[in-house]
């Protein structure tokens, strides 16, 4: 699809119009600035790279995502998904050259591009959302229980490949994003509740098996089991795993608590974090660094910024008429929200520890690039003029109750 110069100029003019996406962009940039400052607390080197290299790359990526027409993006959703799946397959190939696909922390989740370590799962998350949004945009099949099979099937392919890497943290984010999209797309809540209930039951049974069943019936891998065990013991106040498997979470919670209301300030926090030996302090464990430096005030500020971000994206979805844009925005919001929630919850002792970054804040090129691409896409969708006579999407309750039929 060709973009003429006039279309490009028109698009720029549209972008200049105030819209809710600007709040999302503002929140994203502020979160990134907070992230750079937090990373600088524990590593000036990483902060410099995050601020001077990855942020620029991410903003360029975002700019690229602003321009294409949503229809073109929709058409490209399946091919992009295909590319992402191919890359996911590539990284798990046993004969993949280790110079290109190194093993890091026991996982083959990265591709060495020379100038950066690229994580295909980050691309897969965005492309999956676009693909599902494209798939669901004019359908009603997901209103039936069996109709949910296809979107779940689409999700399970990248999910399985990501788990194979293995990268449990990234894999965990896909179901919540899909759920959010299905909720918005009008799937029946009782169907989703049933599925959610089954999911919760599976998790609960697994946890029970891990905690109380003999070794012979365990299905989870040992390192996954000890994470559940350490969370359980931490919750019940048993310190038996504090020095081993529960160490990371224990230190994280201690540093969060020590931050108090206003935190220690940069120098003191830097020293305290160093001597408390917080692992992964510049990426997965960045939230305790924030709280330790800025206290509860800083933590609340970050949570508020996430709410602004999520709220803005959902507002863009609400104002959009394009079903593809609507669902994509919901998917992005769901993805960012789930990632932030899981990351923060594990550092507060509410969830087991797993490798997952805090969006916009944690150090990492791929993560920052694709979160800003999502912001760019949201701005893109927000800046489009609603098409006249467009059919209302995901409105499946016309004529029910006392409400009037919706004319859009």
């Amino acid at each position: 699809m060709q973009i003429t110069f006039q279309q490009f100029v028109d698009q720029l003019k549209l972008l200049a119009r105030p819209n809710p996406a600007w709040y999302a962009l503002g929140a994203a940039v502020l979160l990134t600035v907070v992230g750079v400052a937090a990373i600088g607390t524990v590593s000036e080197q990483h902060a410099g790279i995050q601020g001077q290299r990855w942020l620029i790359v991410a903003l360029i990526g975002m700019a690229c995502a602003i321009l294409p027409h949503p229809r073109w993006l929709g058409n490209m959703a399946y091919p992009a998904m295909g590319v992402a799946l191919a890359l996911l397959v590539f990284v798990i190939l046993p004969f993949a050259p280790r110079s290109i696909v190194p093993i890091r922390n026991g996982s083959t989740a990265w591709i060495n591009l020379g100038f950066m370590m690229f994580q295909p799962s980050e691309m897969a998350k965005v492309s999956l959302i676009l693909a599902i949004a494209w798939y669901l945009r004019h359908r009603e099949t997901h209103r039936r229980l069996l109709g949910l099979l296809v979107p779940f099937g689409i999700m399970f392919v990248p999910l399985a490949l990501i788990l194979k890497e293995p990268d449990l943290g990234s894999a965990l984010l896909l179901p919540p994003a899909l759920f959010a999209m299905l909720v918005a797309a009008g799937a029946k809540l009782r169907h989703l509740a049933t599925l959610l209930g089954i999911g919760i039951a599976v998790v609960a049974i697994n946890a029970a098996v891990v905690l109380w069943a003999p070794d012979s019936v365990q299905v989870l891998k040992p390192h996954q089991r000890v994470r559940i065990e350490s969370l359980y013991y931490q919750v019940i106040g048993d310190e038996r795993m504090v020095h081993e498997e529960g160490y990371q979470q224990d230190v994280a919670m201690r540093l969060v608590a020590a931050g108090g209301l206003t935190g220690y300030g940069k120098e003191r926090a830097s020293t305290i974090i160093e001597y408390n030996k917080l692992p992964f302090d510049h990426n997965d464990m960045i939230f305790p660094v924030i709280v330790n430096r800025w206290g509860l005030v800083g933590a609340s500020g970050v949570l508020a910024l996430y709410l602004v971000l999520i709220g803005s994206i959902l507002t863009v979805a609400a104002r959009s008429k394009d079903p593809f844009a609507r669902l994509s925005c919901v998917g992005f919001a769901g993805l960012i929200f789930s990632q932030a929630t899981i990351n923060i919850a594990m550092t507060l002792g509410l969830m087991p520890i797993t490798g997952i970054t805090l969006p916009f804040i944690s150090y990492g090129g791929s993560s920052l690039l694709f979160t800003f691409i999502m912001v760019g896409l949201v701005i893109n969708f927000a800046s489009r003029r609603p098409q006249l006579l467009s059919r209302p999407s995901f409105e499946f309750d016309k004529g029910k109750g006392k409400g009037k039929a919706v004319l859009q």
Partner: protein
């Protein structure tokens, strides 16, 4: 409500968005709540303290162990400035090299993150090899500078690792048991397996460095501790950051070896010479003072320095600490030890956040005169001659191959008025040099058992040395009167002429006939004291004689602050006492045994007339005694009885018929010489020749009689001599001496000359002047 919502928001999509948005708000509120809960209130304060606590480093401040001094303030044991080099446990195990390699590898975080696991492992391996090489270089340097040799340093490292791991396993088991008791259910070891303090501590690798060696080591350490980032230092320098110089913890025994000049002119003629001899004696007082050792895991477990979930016990022990192993160093450990100090430093600011100063251990003042002790040890050395089998020791039919055999024994000297033990010598001696270099030689010698303190830890049958006590009992209880003659028919029991005989009857076939108590003591009649025992049993009380022995302190310890002190035996213990038991106890045979310390104490009580007089080894601080119950002072022996005993003992040492009068050098007895030849004093003596029954030598050191060659069924007798010395002009004896020579023969002939030399020593050291000058 549902329809209201539909009216307000007609679009289903918008309502669903609202649902999602509200869900996000609720979840964020939950997260904010959780963060608020953590960051406020008590948990925040605790976490703040805990996380800031990580900024503290703890320095332990050594304490000074108390000194041990003799009665004149001479230092027998003290901590002296001597430098030790301690190395962190992680360096000793090699873990430090791995940690450093990992830290170095991660220093370039970007490169590290770009590496795969295999590359990372390889990188760490490469760096570790260099670190480990430098660690070994550091240990080599320590070995060379200190001069102890690489092998000993390596052995020391191995021992530290082994003992820390042993302790770790032991403590984990202890914690496991504690946890199980607390919870009332089985607990897996993994649940209590926390790192122990010793794994994060420094351990002494080399000791006793001199000033020059210290300066060298200090130079290396100073280089390693230059301020600034450790990454700027070379690997070699960084190793030295984990090395500590410590002082002063070297225990020295300055009077351990003493040169003594011995007069030989007063020795029995075969050994006598006008030329004095000089001897260097080692291990002086070792049996009393004891020695130090490194703590064992049991010691640490009993009183650990590191306590789980609590402040350290500054009086507690850590692996590698020194503590007493035997003697006063062990029994007075709590007094001598003191407490460490502790200093907490903020690594961020360098400020001292808290400091508890060390509490030095208390000094101990002994009653011992270390020069007299050395003198007696010298004259009891086999090389001097008296403690080797001599011709006059043996009877005419004895095996001549026994001549020259070294003899073992002990001697105790006590000041009667104060109870002060002036000397307590046990032979063979145990030199510290041997103890340090080849301790097994001393600890595992089943024949001579040099580490046993024979003066107070080994009970012997006392033989005739108990007869004066029996006389005191008989006279004090009125079953014998002064001057009363008792017929001694040669043997006690009319129908058994071969047992319970007088030595004179055994030798000549003639009885003593009618003798009084004084003569009975002087000539050491068995029959006389057998009759006394019978009179006490029949006229006073069946167990009257054991009751008197108990009053004299037999069968009990005197709490002189040495844990190895033996109570000996008084009575058969495992069965009812028989009449014959008591008859034999009257002559120091049968179910009675005692140590030389008990014998001199009994004589001190006898002479002083004070049945509560106790011997004293530690003058200050006064050691705690057992449960003291107030009792009225028991009546002492009658003065008549005491006078009879002293006269009997005086005659025993000074009249031709006395058993401690002379030794003979020919079978006819024509060529003899007196045993005691000290001028200016009156010597009262009683010999004892005790049949030990059989002798057990635990050759395989298994504590069991399981080999025929471990039993000697007919050993020679234990030879005893007890001497009371009364300086001219003194109203009563001032000093008591007890000598025992085990498996040696006749008391008078073997132990008598030793006792005589001890009296000479007392005189030489000015104890026998009246009025007293010391």
């Amino acid at each position: 409500m549902r329809s209201t919502l539909r009216d307000a928001i007609p679009s289903m999509f918008h309502r669903r968005l609202l649902l999602l948005g509200l869900t996000a708000v609720v979840v964020m509120a939950v997260l904010t709540g959780a963060a608020t809960r953590l960051t406020t209130g008590r948990s925040a304060a605790e976490a703040r303290a805990a996380s800031e606590g990580r900024l503290q480093t703890t320095q332990l401040i050594s304490t000074r162990r108390g000194a041990i001094l003799d009665r004149y303030g001479r230092v027998l044991a003290q901590d002296e400035p001597g430098w030790q080099v301690a190395v962190h446990f992680s360096v000793i195990t090699g873990e430090w090299a791995t940690t450093q390699a990992k830290t170095d590898a991660r220093r370039d975080r970007l490169a590290w993150e770009a590496m795969g696991d295999a590359e990372r492992e390889q990188r760490v391996r490469d760096l570790r090899a260099e670190y480990q090489r430098q660690v070994e270089e550091m240990f080599r340097t320590l070995a060379e500078v200190s001069g102890v040799g690489r092998d000993r340093v390596r052995l020391r490292r191995d021992r530290i690792i082994r003992s820390v791991h042993d302790l770790q396993a032991y403590l984990w088991r202890v914690w496991q048991r504690q946890e199980e008791q607390q919870r009332g259910e089985p607990v897996a070891l993994e649940e209590v397996a926390q790192p122990i303090g010793e794994e994060t501590a420094h351990h002494v690798i080399v000791s006793d460095l001199n000033e020059a060696q210290r300066l060298l080591i200090e130079g290396f350490i100073a280089e390693g501790r230059q301020p600034g980032d450790a990454s700027g230092l070379s690997v070699t320098q960084r190793v030295w950051r984990e090395v500590e110089l410590r002082r002063p913890t070297v225990r020295r025994y300055p009077m351990e070896t003493i040169r003594v000049k011995l007069d030989r002119s007063t020795l029995p003629s075969p050994l006598a010479s006008d030329e004095p001899v000089e001897m260097e004696v080692s291990g002086v007082g070792l049996h009393l003072i004891g020695m130090m050792r490194e703590t064992w895991r049991e010691d640490v477990a009993l009183q650990p320095f590191t306590r789980r979930g609590a402040e350290p016990d500054l009086y507690g022990y850590r692996v590698g600490d020194q503590m007493g192993r035997a003697g006063l160093e062990l029994s007075m450990e709590q007094t001598l030890r003191g407490a460490r100090g502790i200093r907490r430093i903020n690594v961020d600011t360098g400020a001292v956040e808290s400091e508890t100063l060390p509490v030095p251990g208390e000094n101990i003042l002994l009653s011992i005169d270390i020069l007299l002790q050395a003198h007696i040890q010298a004259l009891m050395s086999p090389s001097f001659g008296l403690m080797r089998t001599q011709p006059w020791h043996l009877g005419p039919d004895a095996d001549p191959t026994l001549l020259g055999t070294p003899l073992n024994g002990a001697a105790v000297v006590i000041d009667i008025a104060s109870g002060d033990i002036l000397a307590a010598v046990s032979m063979p001696a145990a030199p510290r040099t041997v103890l340090e270099e080849d301790p097994e030689l001393l600890w595992r010698d089943p024949v001579n058992q040099p580490m046993v303190n024979r003066a107070l830890a080994r009970p012997y049958q006392p033989g005739s040395t108990l007869k004066p006590l029996a006389l005191v009992a008989a006279v004090s209880d009125g079953v014998l009167h002064e001057g009363e003659l008792v017929h001694c028919a040669g043997h006690l029991w009319p129908d058994k002429p071969m047992v319970y005989r007088d030595w004179y009857y055994k030798l000549t076939g003639l009885p003593f006939g009618d003798i009084d108590g004084v003569e009975a003591v002087a000539r050491s009649s068995n029959v006389f004291f057998g009759i006394m025992a019978q009179r006490l049993m029949d006229r006073i009380e069946f167990e009257r004689l054991p009751w008197w022995y108990d009053r004299f302190g037999l069968g009990q310890t005197h709490d002189i602050a040495l844990s190895e002190e033996s109570p000996g035996a008084l009575g058969p213990g495992n069965r009812d006492i028989q009449r014959s038991d008591i008859e034999f106890m009257a002559i120091g045979q049968g179910p009675v045994s005692c140590t030389p310390l008990q014998i001199v104490t009994a004589y001190a009580r006898l002479v002083g007339g004070d049945m509560r007089r106790e011997p004293r080894l530690v003058v200050a601080p006064e050691p705690p005694r057992g449960d003291e119950v107030f009792e009225p002072t028991p009546p002492g022996p009658s003065p008549t009885a005491v006078a009879m005993v002293l006269e009997g003992m005086r005659q025993g040492a000074s009249t031709r018929d006395g058993t401690t009068h002379h030794i003979t050098h020919d079978p006819s007895g024509m060529h003899y010489e007196p045993i005691f030849n000290v001028e200016g004093v009156t010597v009262m003596a009683k010999s004892g020749t005790a049949d030990p029954g059989s002798r057990w030598i635990d050759l395989d050191l298994d504590g069991e009689v399981d080999r025929p060659d471990e039993i000697d069924s007919a050993p020679r007798d234990h030879a005893w001599a007890v001497v009371l010395v009364q300086p001219d002009g003194a109203p009563r004896p001032t000093h008591a001496v007890a000598v025992v020579v085990e498996y040696a023969g006749s008391g008078g002939r073997v132990a008598g000359p030793v006792a005589n030399q001890i009296v000479h020593a007392l005189k030489l050291h000015q104890y026998l002047q009246w009025p007293p000058v010391r």
